[in-house]
């Protein structure tokens, strides 16, 4: 709606209105001579043309239409009506609704900013800016999501490579373990017989010596003592017993390694059962009770009273036992281990957290590798965590998360499905 009245009342204020317009910012009025020299201007026109206090040295000019075009005709009256651009052909351009009048060789330029249009445009630009801003935010979010996905994919790739490596090693160790299992079995068994026979032989010889000594045949007695001394039989009998004892310890260790290797390579030898996981884990803890007591370690067990889980019970016990053994090794006397079991549908999370020495950054990637150990030679086979890895990831289709800070402790999370489907 546009009001088209005569503005009878407004006209009564004309002098004041003129004064206000001459100082205003939105309507530019300027009078020019035939050569384009500015003779008079209100504040807005001074601003549009950017002139000094003497109305000279204009930094801006009429860009479209150019002033020269006003001189084409010679008739007085309205000679231009439309959008006019005043500016510097560079970074400044004011587009104004303009009228140019000619009278007695002078030009009056009336140039006004279309305020309703500018307000509307400002609103639209603000809205547009808001939309661009929101789009930018959305893009940042999507970029971040892609980064997360990429990191997860890398992790999965890493796991797949590791899993493949483990399978290859599994096949190799299965062959080796099978081949050396039988010879170890008879060496192990023979050692027990040897120990017994050695004792019997030494005992028999002592009896013979005693007999000779009692029967009082000095020459025989002297000869027997000579043989005894010459062959250092006291030392031999002691050393033989020690050697047999050490060999037994050695073969026990070889047997353990072979059993671990067989376990590592043949984890599919049992069936999935639904068991109370809490009861199962409690039995594992009881195996470690003496170790915990001797090192004065406080083991906190946080779990629901009962949790039925479909899994390979023996293997799962083995997996958690290996992690617990490492935790016990990592903490000092008086340290703390928290074993917790949590149901996070559809998974179960078994978490072992210790306040021990932590895992140095440089060996993080190796902890699940078979035969990798930080324990002194002879103390560990380096198979514990690789067995756990295989049990959790291959057998139970789960995952393992490790967080560790050297000097502060380590947290292992074994995540398995609550009901393993085969």
């Amino acid at each position: 709606m546009v009001y088209t009245g005569k503005n009878k009342y407004i006209s009564e204020w004309s002098n004041l209105i003129f004064e206000l317009i001459s100082k205003g910012h939105s309507v530019g009025i300027g009078v020019f001579d035939i050569e384009g020299r500015l003779l008079d201007a209100n504040r807005a026109m001074c601003y549009f043309l950017d002139v000094d206090e003497n109305l000279k040295n204009a930094k801006n000019s009429f860009v479209n239409p150019v002033f020269h075009s006003f001189k084409n005709g010679s008739v007085d009256g309205l000679i231009f009506d439309g959008l006019m651009t005043i500016g510097n052909s560079g970074d400044i351009s004011y587009v104004l609704n303009s009228k140019v009048f000619r009278k007695q060789g002078q030009f009056m330029v009336f140039a006004e900013a279309d305020v309703p249009y500018l307000f509307k445009q400002n609103d639209q630009l603000s809205l547009l800016n808001q939309q661009v801003n929101n789009l930018q935010r959305q893009l940042i979010k999507e970029k971040k999501t892609l980064q997360f996905t990429l990191a997860e994919l890398k992790e999965t790739q890493h796991m797949l490579i590791h899993s493949e490596k483990m399978n290859a090693i599994g096949r190799l160790v299965a062959g080796v373990a099978h081949e050396i299992n039988n010879p170890i079995a008879f060496v192990y068994s023979n050692l027990f017989s040897i120990e017994k026979y050695v004792e019997e032989v030494i005992q028999s010889y002592r009896e013979v010596e005693e007999l000779i000594s009692k029967e009082g045949l000095p020459e025989l007695n002297r000869q027997a003592a000579g043989i005894h001394k010459k062959n250092d039989l006291d030392f031999l009998s002691l050393d033989l017993a020690d050697m047999v004892k050490e060999s037994k310890i050695g073969i026990e260790r070889v047997k353990t390694i072979v059993e671990d290797l067989r376990l590592f390579s043949r984890l599919d030898g049992s069936a999935v059962k639904t068991i109370d996981l809490i009861e199962n884990i409690k039995s594992t803890i009881s195996i470690l009770r003496s170790e915990l007591t001797s090192k004065n370690i406080n083991l906190e067990f946080l779990a629901p009273d009962r949790l039925l889980v479909g899994c390979y019970p023996g293997q799962l016990n083995q997996a958690i036992l290996n992690v617990l053994i490492n935790a016990i090794y990592a903490v000092d006397s008086g340290g703390k281990i928290i074993l917790s079991i949590e149901l996070k549908e559809p998974n179960v999370v078994l978490s072992v957290k210790d306040n021990g020495c932590g895992i140095p950054h440089e060996i993080r990637d190796k902890i699940f590798d078979p035969f990798f150990t930080t324990k002194p030679v002879g103390s560990g086979t380096g198979l514990g965590l690789s067995i756990t890895y295989k049990i959790i990831t291959d057998l139970h289709k789960g995952s393992i998360e490790v967080e560790s800070e050297p000097g502060e402790g380590t947290s292992f999370k074994l995540i398995i499905p609550k009901n393993l489907s085969i």
């Binding site: 400002n122 603000s126 800016n129 808001q130 801003n133 929101n134 930018q136 935010r137 940042i140 979010k141 970029k143 971040k144 997360f148």
Partner: protein
């Protein structure tokens, strides 16, 4: 006291540059505030919020135009975007929140800060901004199935629209936890909040942060 005056210096500098439309100076102030041991929430609450409320007052007292207010908001939003990538937490908690303004509300910078606090705490945020009609919001909520919805009311004048929106949400999603906040709540009395039913009013970002952390547990 000393910290307050440090924040005040940053806020005044930020406000001056907002009014002078100097985006890069505002960005420098925000980054330097963060590097002088302040948290993102402190930056939002003690610098951005205080400066923007002051911009609102300047408009109310006829000192600046709506256009200047728009530019001040646009500059602040651009800095929020600058910081957005670094505030998204890498630890995700797999909870979802939809953040939206009351129907017909035009001010979205506050709810954007709210969305950021959820992101800092590992939530998946769905930012709807302004101009979302109630029926669109309902459709969106059915699709996203969020754990929570956060609604902002900046202008007190839109309070009846908030009541209408809450009524629709509570009928359509009876179990959905609703949290609300915004500048308008400086003028809302306790008996008025009683009329809003089972919603939680969170009056600033510090309280929101604590609320989310408790919720995460």
């Amino acid at each position: 006291m000393m910290n307050e005056s440090i924040s005040e210096n940053f806020t005044n500098g930020f406000l001056d540059n907002l009014l002078n439309c100097n985006r890069s100076a505002c960005s420098d102030i925000a980054h330097s505030y963060l590097s002088s041991n302040h948290s993102v929430i402190q930056l939002y609450e003690d610098v951005f919020k205080v400066a923007l409320y002051e911009v609102g007052k300047l408009w109310e007292t006829n000192k600046i135009s709506v256009a200047t207010e728009h530019i001040a908001t646009a500059i602040t939003e651009s800095i929020l975007n600058e910081l957005f990538e670094q505030i998204i937490s890498n630890k995700r908690c797999y909870r979802k929140v939809v953040v939206a303004c009351v129907e017909k509300e035009q001010h979205q910078v506050g709810i954007k800060m709210v969305a950021d606090v959820f992101e800092m705490n590992g939530w998946e945020t769905f930012f709807l901004g302004t101009g979302i009609p109630n029926n669109e919001l309902i459709r969106y909520l059915h699709e996203i199935k969020p754990d929570l919805i956060a609604i902002s009311l900046s202008v007190y004048f839109n309070f009846t629209n908030l009541l209408k929106m809450l009524d629709i949400l509570q009928k359509e999603f009876p179990g959905l936890q609703i949290v609300i906040g915004g500048q308008a709540f400086n003028h809302v009395s306790a008996d008025m909040t009683d009329r809003m039913g089972n919603v939680i009013v969170l009056t600033d970002l510090y309280i929101l942060d604590k609320f989310i952390q408790t919720y995460n547990k």
